[in-house]
């Protein structure tokens, strides 16, 4: 084999043109992943967004712990801190050392409520997103690889799902849905059932977008050599779908995931406004904001702080998603 001598020849050629030989080997190779990470690292806005996302994730993860140790207390009411109209007795919405973000209309500490609210809202959004992604990716792959009748049926199911007025169905089906969820999953009545209901409906209505993207990608992937090779070697359908094709799809999956999270945080808030979802006194971002709307002009801190928290979460996840998409797109930064 003469190939062993080739780098040397190339090295000499390079040496004759450029002075140093070292760059020839060091330029050599970077995986697409490394290139993407390098692009992402240069994107300041995305890094700031990533910082915010990590901050909210840490908030979400630490909430059960700090509640357990009694450092935050989202449930205790302090009627002595509010007047009969639900306005804080002190100035600035009751902001003080013990209540850094003020208090709500029955004197509960707003920071504590937001802290555990972020946790529950992110948990619901994450689980809903995960369910939607699993459904969408599996059905998208199956649809794309199998083609024919399966593809046609899944396509019609997507059409049907999209034709449903979604908010309407979530609202109208809430009471039925809660009972169905309770029967199917044997969850305790009340908020656990409500949380599962939210996750299930968000997932069931959210999978269509990623299914279409994945199907499109699979259609172009399934004619590639490595898939043919796997088929010829007698790979099982499962292996074909999830071992050969799935690893090539992580880019659109990651982007969709990051963009679906904030959409579901907003959806939880909207449903809380319509009275569907987690009930008081358990805080979510949605029902904290919903509690505050009758006090919006009387106690601006109580209204604006939860509103801006939701906006901050949605913006940072969106910016991060955009950043990841740009970084993964080889055409993006030419």
């Amino acid at each position: 084999m003469s190939s062993s001598t080739e780098p040397k020849v190339g090295g000499e050629a390079a040496q004759s043109v450029v002075d140093t030989a070292a760059p020839v080997t060091s330029v050599a190779s970077k995986s697409p992943m490394q290139l993407a990470m390098a692009r992402l690292r240069k994107d300041k806005l995305s890094l700031i967004a990533l910082g915010f996302v990590l901050f909210f994730v840490v908030i979400g993860l630490t909430s059960p712990l700090v509640t357990h140790f009694g450092w935050i207390d989202p449930l205790t009411t302090n009627q002595d801190l509010v007047d009969p109209f639900g306005r804080p007795v002190d100035k600035w919405g009751g902001i003080s050392l013990s209540h850094p973000l003020g208090i709500d209309s029955i004197g509960r500490d707003l920071m504590s409520r937001l802290w555990s609210g972020v946790s529950l809202s992110l948990f619901i959004a994450l689980s809903g997103t995960a369910l939607a992604m699993i459904l969408g990716v599996v059905l998208g792959i199956v649809s794309g690889v199998t083609g024919g009748w399966t593809d046609a049926i899944i396509g019609r199911i997507i059409d049907l799902t999209l034709a449903f007025p979604q908010t309407l169905m979530l609202l109208a089906l809430a009471s039925t849905g809660l009972i169905m969820v309770q029967k199917a999953f044997h969850t305790p009545a009340g908020n656990p059932t409500a949380a599962v209901y939210l996750i299930v409906v968000l997932g069931l209505f959210g999978w269509t977008g990623i299914a279409r993207i994945v199907r499109g990608q699979v259609l172009s992937l399934r004619e590639r050599e490595f898939v043919h090779a796997a088929t010829m070697m007698g790979a099982s359908k499962y292996r074909l779908y999830f071992r050969e094709i799935l690893p090539n799809l992580w880019a659109p999956i990651l982007v969709t995931f990051t963009l679906m999270m904030p959409a579901f945080v907003s959806a939880e808030a909207a449903l809380a406004y319509l009275g569907v979802g987690i009930n008081a006194p358990t805080p979510t971002l949605g029902n904290i904001l919903n509690d505050s709307i009758s006090y919006a002009d009387l106690v601006p801190t109580f209204f604006f702080i939860p509103g801006f928290t939701i906006a901050a979460i949605v913006v940072s996840f969106n910016l991060l998603g955009d950043g990841i998409r740009d970084a993964l797109d080889p055409k993006g930064h030419q």
């Binding site: 059409d159 449903f164 007025p165 908010t167 109208a172 009972i179 904030p262 904001l289 939701i310 969106n318």
Partner: protein, 338 residues
């Protein structure tokens, strides 16, 4: 093309029937007693049984669905009781085709309820779509033209931030601050064109229309920006510049035409989804449109009204999809229907 349109309409009708069937099954799978909800809390068991029979709730689901579909085609009478019609014709409510059902809760046909609510939702949707297209497209073009500048970043960033707030937060903010606290605008309440003239109608719809438009603004700015940038990179733009056209002419005559066609699809489908009711916005501003009707009827467990709204809203979405696809083929010569 007509064959294509006809095929799409047939598929659309089938999809709509599937939609009603799924809705029927979902609601009747519930353990809740439909007749009890329809009759009201004070009803005795006897009265409930009468209601159940009169409204056909004693029959199996598929039979009720069959009656509903038949009503859509030929109309129905409530209650469907030939004996009663002979003795007391004044108790019978006629519901002409396409009959969507009878709401015992309201004592009216669903057609009547939707007929009253639809103009509100349609007005709101029209004002919102005009606002978001006007601002979204022009801001998107500006951002694309000055790509990378501080203005571009400002436009994209600001619309994203507005999008990030929940709709009811924006609506409540407008009501409680812009209207009540600062008194900049009058408190909005729906006035139809027939009652108050166009100016009054528009004036009252401005705030809710703006709230609704802000929800869509960010995505339209981004889409317009992306499409304009994409078409500005095409070869024919370079040709147009090379032959000495002014940059204004290149932008408006050459780039925009290609850039804006994809927006037709988005606009059509978003607009259609709003015709079925903007639930949150209508709820915040207490406008009695389809969205408010949805909230009220689902709280009252008014099943026939809910199914009626699902059918009408679904029909709008399905119809819009067909119209948009055909329009797209008409505007863009590269698209072929098949």
């Amino acid at each position: 093309m007509w064959a294509y349109a006809a095929r799409r309409v047939v598929i659309g009708v089938m999809l709509l029937l599937a939609l009603t069937l799924v809705t029927f099954v979902l609601f009747f799978a519930s353990p809740a007693d439909q007749a009890r909800h329809a009759c009201g809390k004070q009803c005795t068991d006897e009265q409930i049984a009468v209601t159940e029979k009169a409204l056909g709730y004693d029959k199996p689901v598929y039979e009720q669905w069959g009656m509903f579909v038949k009503g859509l085609a030929t109309g129905r009478e409530f209650p469907a009781d030939p004996e009663l019609k002979k003795t007391h014709p004044e108790f019978i409510t006629d519901c002409d085709a396409p009959c969507l059902g009878y709401s015992k809760t309201n004592g009216k046909t669903v057609n009547y309820l939707i007929g009253k609510a639809a103009p509100v939702s349609v007005s709101l949707a029209v004002v919102a779509v005009v606002l978001w297209l006007a601002f979204g497209v022009s801001l998107g073009i500006i951002a694309a033209v000055v790509k990378g500048s501080i203005i571009d970043r400002g436009i994209v960033g600001l619309t994203l931030i507005i999008y990030a707030f929940p709709t009811f937060f924006l609506g409540v903010f407008f009501l409680k601050f812009v209207v009540v606290k600062w008194g900049i605008l009058a408190y909005p309440g729906y006035v139809s064109i027939a009652e108050g003239g166009v100016a009054n109608w528009l004036n009252n719809l401005l705030l809710p229309g703006m709230t609704l438009a802000l929800v869509f603004l960010a995505s339209y700015v981004r889409m317009t920006r992306a499409f304009v940038l994409e078409s500005l990179g095409e070869d024919y733009i370079r040709t147009a510049r090379a032959k000495g056209l002014t940059s204004r002419r290149v932008l408006f005559k050459h780039a925009l035409r290609a850039a804006l066609t994809p927006l037709v699809t988005m606009t059509g489908i978003d607009f259609a989804s709003l015709l079925g009711g903007a639930i949150i916005t209508e709820q915040v501003f207490a406008y009695n449109g389809m969205g408010k009707l949805t909230v009220d009827s689902s709280q009252a467990w008014d099943l026939p009204t809910i199914i009626g709204i699902v059918v009408v809203a679904g029909a709008f979405v399905i119809l819009a999809n067909i119209i948009v696809d055909i329009c797209y083929a008409l505007i863009d010569p590269r698209v072929r229907l098949g």
